[in-house]
């Protein structure tokens, strides 16, 4: 019983890191994009593992189905043959490797040093963000077993919906301005004649 979560974690980690390494080392941009998709799928797997089912679905739909398709589309649009022949890494790659290693060492140091500090929540005593009123409301909609404070963030999609439209209504609305800016910006930049 106890072996299984660990096994899945290591399997997904291998997929994620393998995909990421191949993403940044492949010469051909299309190959990079495909390996990035593998990484994103692995991340979606971790989301499922961590009880974020809604985000796992969004990851597959929006990230892989939307963003990565856009990437592939652009790669097709621009000239790839020439890029594939060129040197893959830039002149400063030694500095880059040094910076990356320094950052890695720094993060590893802090996380290892701060390891004990994660004890504070180990017992899982945290509570759900939505308060009693939301839980009552959800219970009145349909019968959900195991819903309540100290639960497992379940039912995930319903709770996210409640939080989005109740506590985070303003960010949700403001995000529409963001999307509008993105639409206008993309049209302004890419269209031939405005």
């Amino acid at each position: 019983m106890n072996v299984l979560p660990g096994f899945f974690f290591y399997l997904l980690s291998a997929i994620i890191l393998g995909g990421a390494i191949l993403t940044i080392t492949r010469r051909n941009a299309v190959h990079s994009a495909i390996w990035l998709i593998v990484t994103l799928l692995g991340v979606a797997g971790i989301y499922l593992n961590q009880h974020a089912e809604f985000l796992a679905a969004v990851q597959v739909l929006v990230y892989i189905g939307g963003i990565m398709v856009l990437f592939l589309f652009v790669i097709m649009l621009v000239n790839l043959d020439e890029a594939a022949k060129q040197r893959q890494f830039n002149h400063q790659w030694t500095i880059a490797v040094g910076c990356a290693l320094a950052l890695m060492a720094e993060l590893a140091y802090f996380i290892v040093k701060g390891r004990e500090s994660f004890r504070f929540g180990d017992t899982g005593t945290g509570t759900l963000n939505p308060d009693a009123a939301v839980i009552e409301f959800l219970k009145s909609c349909r019968d959900i077993p195991g819903l309540g404070p100290g639960g497992f963030l379940q039912p995930n999609t319903e709770l996210i919906a409640c939080a989005l439209y109740r506590d985070y209504l303003l960010p949700f609305e403001i995000a529409s301005v963001l999307l509008l800016v993105a639409i206008v910006g993309a049209v302004v930049m890419a269209k031939k004649e405005i």
Partner: protein, 502 residues
């Protein structure tokens, strides 16, 4: 959502509606430039009135996610004023360069919405979304001259480095969420205070704070790395050294009115978020981050001023000077006192007036296609166009910090706050830098009044909107230099509000 919530974000609603209206007008009218500009002015003025009314009636809207307090309102007024000046100064430019006015104004308005949200947000999610709205609008505005290779190149550089910095900021937020269990600034502060006071304190307000209170050890190292990562992201946005690499290229490649906008509004917005996050959210940890600010402030002043000495292009010179001015603002920030915050706010207002004014003159003299941007093009300007040269001299003198101008009092308040905060060395280095800075501004002044023109630089007469923008900038610069009390009172009020929020 309650009616009071809608009133709190009324300026943002007005601006968004105006932005959409401007785009629709642009689509339906053949000669839409004037109509679009008119709708933009109307939207901005309506929003200014809406903010001014809110100023003395602070409310926490949307369950405390959005705080329309005097700190937020101060910044929103500043952004609206900057947007108004930039719109005034760019109508002629857009016409001359044959750029589509409607989209330009709409993006400017949306960017202002994002900045307003950033300045008033009490929730890191909202800070992030506001930051992204203003950034995306800026990326596109920088690349707005699509036919010019330098413009799209600048846009690409800004975009890639900006997204890179945003990722760092987000990673910091994630670790901050891990150590405090919240992304709301006031709750983060409560969690810290509870943890620092120890377990004997009263009942914690937030469930996550309860977790911290029972923990045997506070995740201090995790908080440290979270602060560092958020610091990197925000320092990039205010173009502080050593994260300033993008600034000269982006400011040079962008259309000049956009450069004026970038160097004032998004920078002020980033400072607003910076102040709110560090003073409110991380106020209890000021000992851990104030030395970081010290180093970054000194580096920014030196790199900015020394870099500006070497420039031949006036836009690049002003870009380097923008880095140095960010350094002066950081000097006041390092004190993390109410005094210091008030000085930051005052300096940002003063800088907005003088810098937009200076860039307005640069825009006008640049001519079609921005051909005359070298400092030697300014030789003999004092004889050929005495009025423009006079205006430019006032702005440059203010940027140096000569008495009777806004720049002097801005620097005065900054260094006074630093002295009160026992930052003697920082003050000494700051004053030293003001001396270095005088050199490159004076070089332009000397060449304007004391050397013969190197080549013929044509110059059209100023049009009405430009005259108005120039007049507002000059009056603002001189007013802030002679009668600082009104603005300083508002800044102090805003700063005290920020202190209370802790």
């Amino acid at each position: 959502m309650q009616p009071s919530d809608a009133i709190a974000i009324l300026p943002e609603i007005i601006l968004t509606a105006a932005g959409i209206l401007v785009m629709l007008l642009g689509a339906f009218f053949e000669k839409s430039e004037r109509i679009a500009a008119g709708a933009t002015y109307a939207g901005l003025i309506a929003a200014i009135i809406a903010v001014a009314v809110q100023f003395n009636h602070p409310v926490a809207a949307f369950g405390g996610v959005f705080l329309a307090d005097s700190f937020g309102c101060f910044f929103r007024l500043l952004f609206l004023l900057i947007a108004l000046l930039v719109v005034l100064s760019s109508s002629t430019y857009l016409h001359r360069e044959g750029l589509s006015a409607a989209e330009y104004y709409a993006l400017l308005l949306f960017g202002t919405v994002g900045m307003g949200v950033m300045a008033s947000a009490n929730e890191l999610i909202l800070v992030f979304i506001g930051l992204e709205i203003s950034s995306l609008a800026s990326y596109v505005l920088v690349g707005f001259r699509r036919d010019v290779p330098t413009s799209s190149e600048a846009s690409l550089k800004y975009f890639l480095l900006g997204s890179f910095a945003t990722a760092f900021f987000l990673y910091g937020v994630a670790l901050m969420f891990g150590s405090t269990g919240s992304t709301r600034l006031t709750q983060i502060n409560e969690a810290f205070n509870t943890a620092l006071r120890g377990q004997s304190a009263g009942t914690p307000v937030h469930p996550a704070a309860a977790n911290l209170a029972v923990s045997t050890q506070f995740p201090a190292s995790l908080v440290g790395v979270a602060i560092a990562l958020m610091f990197v992201g925000l320092a990039f946005k205010v173009s502080a050294a050593p994260f300033q690499i993008w600034t000269p290229d982006v400011y040079q490649g962008a259309p000049t009115p956009v450069t004026a906008f970038l160097s004032t509004a998004p920078k002020a917005a980033a400072f607003a978020a910076f102040l709110r996050i560090f003073m409110v959210g991380l106020g209890a940890y000021s000992g851990r981050w104030s030395w970081l600010l010290w180093i970054v402030a000194v580096l920014s002043m030196f790199l900015g001023n020394l870099g500006a000495l070497l420039q031949a292009n006036i836009k690049r010179m002003l870009a380097y000077s923008a880095i140095a001015h960010a350094g002066y603002v950081l000097v006041a920030f390092t004190t993390h006192s109410a005094d210091g915050v008030a000085a930051v706010l005052y300096y940002l207002v003063a800088y907005a007036f003088m810098n937009i004014g200076a860039f307005l003159v640069v825009t006008h003299l640049g001519g079609r296609g921005e051909r005359y941007l070298e400092i030697e093009d300014y030789a003999g300007l004092g004889f050929r166009f005495p009025f423009l040269a006079g205006m430019f001299s006032i702005f440059l003198l203010s940027l140096i910090g000569v008495p009777l101008t806004a720049g002097f009092l801005g620097k005065f308040y900054v260094f006074r706050a630093a002295i009160h905060g026992d930052l003697v060395w920082l003050t000494v280095l700051g004053v030293l830098n003001s001396g270095i800075a005088a050199y490159y501004y004076l070089r332009v002044l000397v060449s304007m009044y004391m050397s013969a023109p190197a080549r013929e630089v044509p110059c059209e007469p100023l049009r009405a909107p430009e005259r108005l923008a120039l007049a507002i900038s000059v009056v603002g610069t001189l007013y802030l230099g002679l009668f600082p009390q009104n603005v300083m009172d508002l800044a102090t009020q805003a700063a005290q509000w920020l202190q209370q929020a802790r």
